[in-house]
């Protein structure tokens, strides 16, 4: 039994299926991204494009990057990164709204 068999022994059977499923989802997401760009959605265009991108990113992080099965320490680390990034955007939008 190798190193990673011990670390992730449980999920080999169905993990490949999950990878193909995520890939399919990413490709559908790509098609959707391009498709909505050519539809007139007014001010909603960018929020919708970002919502699709965030959904794609979510599945890459959870499944491809194995965060779904990560330890609490890794979770805290990732959340801190997202908090930092979000703070930047929150300050930016507050500044914009206050002008």
């Amino acid at each position: 039994m190798g190193l990673n068999e011990q670390a992730h022994g449980q999920d080999h059977g169905h993990s490949l299926k999950a990878y193909y499923l995520v890939y399919l989802l990413l490709m559908v997401g790509l098609a959707a991204t391009v498709w909505v760009a050519y539809i007139d959605l007014g001010w909603l265009s960018t929020p919708i494009a970002m919502a699709i991108a965030t959904t794609k990113a979510f599945f890459v992080v959870m499944i491809f990057m194995h965060v779904k099965d990560a330890t609490p320490m890794i979770w805290v680390t990732i959340v801190m990164g997202l908090v930092g990034l979000s703070l930047g955007f929150i300050f930016l939008f507050c500044d914009y709204a206050a002008r």
């Binding site: 190193l3 990413l26 265009s45 991108a53 794609k56 990113a57 890459v60 491809f64 194995h66 955007f89």
Partner: protein, 215 residues
């Protein structure tokens, strides 16, 4: 097999699970710094897009959606093959590991080649900010802002792809020469995290630069 007999366990770790978490934590902290690094570009993008929305929409039309879409597909596919490579490494399937790493590396090269043609076109029409700028638009020099952000974001992303291609290329050779046994699968896994991160950045760069104001 008990973990203390594992030849791949470094002496300063209690067991293989602790070693795995430490290495992963280090990689994630590095990726955190990368989030803030690319975050800065997205902050700048947001500020300037708010200031000059019409210019951003008009300039986005000069980017090649076909090439951008193909490149997105290439990167997403390479993320799948990278995930499969990590899986193959963990299961000790050498042939599959070499193939998947090779395909991932090749996809990175294809991405860079397509990017080269996009850049070459911009040099040709003079939409390169700075001394080479000869691009005539109704927005005058303002348009250089969009292209500065475009070259900044895609250039730094491209640099990350290039670094990834080199590292994955080295891994492919190591795997081929039997130097990446199952016990070293974590090396492939950590490079995989980096490669997926590069893919993540592109997932946001693509709609924000190529696909705005298309209606």
């Amino acid at each position: 097999m008990s973990s203390d007999a594992n030849p791949y366990l470094a002496h300063h770790f209690d067991d293989i699970v602790q070693q795995h978490e430490s290495v992963s934590l280090g990689m994630w902290i590095f990726l955190l710094t990368e989030i803030m690094f690319f975050g800065g570009i997205f902050f700048a993008y947001t500020i300037y897009r708010f200031l000059y929305p019409d210019m951003f929409h008009a300039m986005s039309h000069h980017l090649d959606v076909t090439m951008g879409t193909i490149n997105t597909g290439v990167l997403l596919t390479s993320s799948l093959t990278m995930a499969l490579a990590v899986n193959a490494a963990q299961r000790g399937m050498k042939k599959r590991l070499v193939t998947m790493l090779g395909v991932t590396c090749a996809a990175g090269v294809i991405f860079l080649v397509i990017k080269y043609f996009e850049y070459a076109h911009k040099f040709h029409v003079g939409s390169v900010p700075g001394r080479l700028w000869t691009f005539e638009t109704e927005f005058g020099n303002q348009a250089q802002l969009f292209y500065s952000l475009y070259f900044g974001a895609t250039g730094l992303h491209g640099l990350h792809v290039l670094i990834g291609v080199v590292i994955i290329g080295v891994l492919t050779i190591l795997a081929w020469k039997d130097k990446l046994p199952q016990g070293r699968a974590q090396r492939v896994e950590m490079v995989g995290l980096y490669w997926h991160f590069v893919d993540l950045v592109w997932i946001f760069v693509f709609p924000l630069f190529y696909l705005i104001g298309r209606t």
